[in-house]
């Protein structure tokens, strides 16, 4: 009970500060995913069409994913220096794997008969991509973006070590303070909340963007 009261006290005293760090962390994650999408989606599309490349590209993204985030930040810091830009770059790298993999899977699983139908009716390659493959892969691609965003929101917390700010600042301060439970919680709760809300919101968007499947879930791509 006491913790809850202290937490409330903390928030009322530092409302503006917490909000600012919240926004900062969200922007870092969002930019990371945005750049990840700008690179990852085209790469995913590309390897779905040139399948020989796919194991190479996906393994590379896998390798990136396995690097511990603290190590990654430290190495990038040597090259890019301190500050939020370095964090955004790291988040960009981490978001590549889910985005590339899901784009690849999404396009790869489009029923070949759909593509043949499009081709047979006289669509150009680009039209097939735009009118058939992307719309049919959209929900899987969106799921990749969701995963990426949730991962990056988590990782962005440690951006505080290289002076990027964010909710990690609050958490770190809590760990340094004696008896800092309340301060730690004050940073952790908004972080978790942000991840949950982002996931929920993108899920909503995903359903909005998938016409024709609204009522029946995801199926109905194949036939009988």
């Amino acid at each position: 009970m006491e913790i809850l009261q202290d937490l409330l006290l903390y928030y009322t005293h530092n409302a503006w500060y917490v909000l600012e760090q919240f926004g900062r962390q969200f922007l870092m994650s969002a930019y990371g995913v945005l750049f990840g999408a700008l690179v990852g989606i085209p790469v995913g599309i590309f390897i779905a069409h040139y399948k020989k490349l796919s194991p190479w590209v996906i393994s590379l993204a896998n390798v990136i994913q396995t690097i511990p985030s603290l190590a990654m930040l430290a190495v990038l810091m040597l090259v890019l220096g301190l500050g939020p830009n370095t964090v955004v770059f790291a988040l960009f790298l981490y978001s590549l794997l889910p985005i590339i993999k899901n784009t690849y899977t999404g396009i790869h699983q489009v029923d070949p008969s759909m593509i043949e139908a499009g081709k047979g009716m006289g669509m150009t390659r680009f039209q097939i991509l735009r009118m058939v493959e992307l719309p049919l892969a959209l929900s899987v691609i969106m799921a990749g973006l969701r995963t990426a965003l949730v991962i990056t929101i988590g990782i962005a917390t440690i951006g505080t070590f290289i002076g990027a700010g964010g909710l990690g600042d609050i958490i770190l301060r809590g760990t340094n303070a004696s008896d800092g439970t309340v301060i730690i919680l004050a940073g952790v709760i908004p972080t978790a909340l942000m991840a949950v809300i982002a996931d929920w919101f993108l899920g909503l968007l995903e359903r909005k963007l998938a016409p024709g499947k609204k009522r029946n879930g995801l199926i109905s791509i194949g036939h009988e």
Binding site: S113, A117, M121, V132, G212
Partner: protein
Amino acid sequence: MLKFEHVSKVYKGKKRAVNDLNFEIEKGEFIVLIGPSGCGKTTTMKMINRLIEPTSGKIYIDGENILEMDPVRLRRKIGYVIQQIGLFPHMTIEQNISLVPRLLKWSPEKRRKRAEELLDLVDMTPDYLDRFPHELSGGQQQRIGVLRALAADQPLILMDEPFGALDPITRDSLQTEFKKLQRRLDKTIVFVTHDMDEALKLADRIVIMRDGSIVQFDTPDEILRNPANEFVEEFIGKDRLDSQRPQVQTVEEIMNPHPVTVTGDVSLSEAIRSMKQHRVDSLLVVNENQQLEGYIDFGIVNEARSKAKTVADAMLRNVYKVEKGTLVRDTMQTILKRGLKYVPIVDEENKLVGIITRSNLVDVVYDSIWGDSQANGL
């Protein structure tokens, strides 16, 4: 209209899928390519819209060598109905139908109008336009699949086993419907199937293929009468050859020209008396111009006795009928597949001209079995 000249297709290092094909198709013909799987029929069809590129030879459409055309523009001029429907699940019915017009950059109003026109062709209402494919039944979906190929009024349409995924009854009625549509719109059709019944029913001429070559290219009647060789005979099936030989007859030749009829204003008790008198269990209902309106049987009379007074109140209107001039073999299949007891025959104006009952069919089968063997015996 369409001409193949020494066309071959050899797949990498493997076998010859199609071997030196030469044939010509006239405008408005319904051509069915048929053969066992791996005979090259699908490959042949797909070379026409260049989904598969021939290894050698030339293909002409209206005198133009298609191998020198831009494949995308070529395909927009050829209707294509894909195996297993192939509607885009993320597009509405309208978007599906008007896809090729959209690629050809028609205005949205013109596209909408065209889509409505087309739906009307298959007796579907415009409110289907805004639905999605998964909301339609299999038969309706395949109708849309066919309409999609007609959308830009392409003169040539390719169909790759389009009715294969449907249940027998739906398939049967779609075949009938489609054949009518094709005659009306005067389209040239190249149709691939492995179902001989379908081929015999739809085709003006059938191309029977084996191992990448044409074995026989002729009208269905001619193929039934004079199969080119043992392979064709076997492929058609001995049963079919025997049973279909006499059935180049039309329905008028075997129908009973005096069906028992009744008009709609007659009372139910009068109707049942008429049934008793003629020893039948159902009556065809016609209007004063002898046009067929429906039917009524003793079961309906029995059920509706208390509620309805006249035949018009109680009769069922969705009666399956056949136009005169239809071949007996098609009608016989329909009767057997649907388990009908009889089929009324009407003329172009829906006037009742006769009826075919199962006992008429017995006569036909009797004639084909005993008539032949007697002739042979003598």
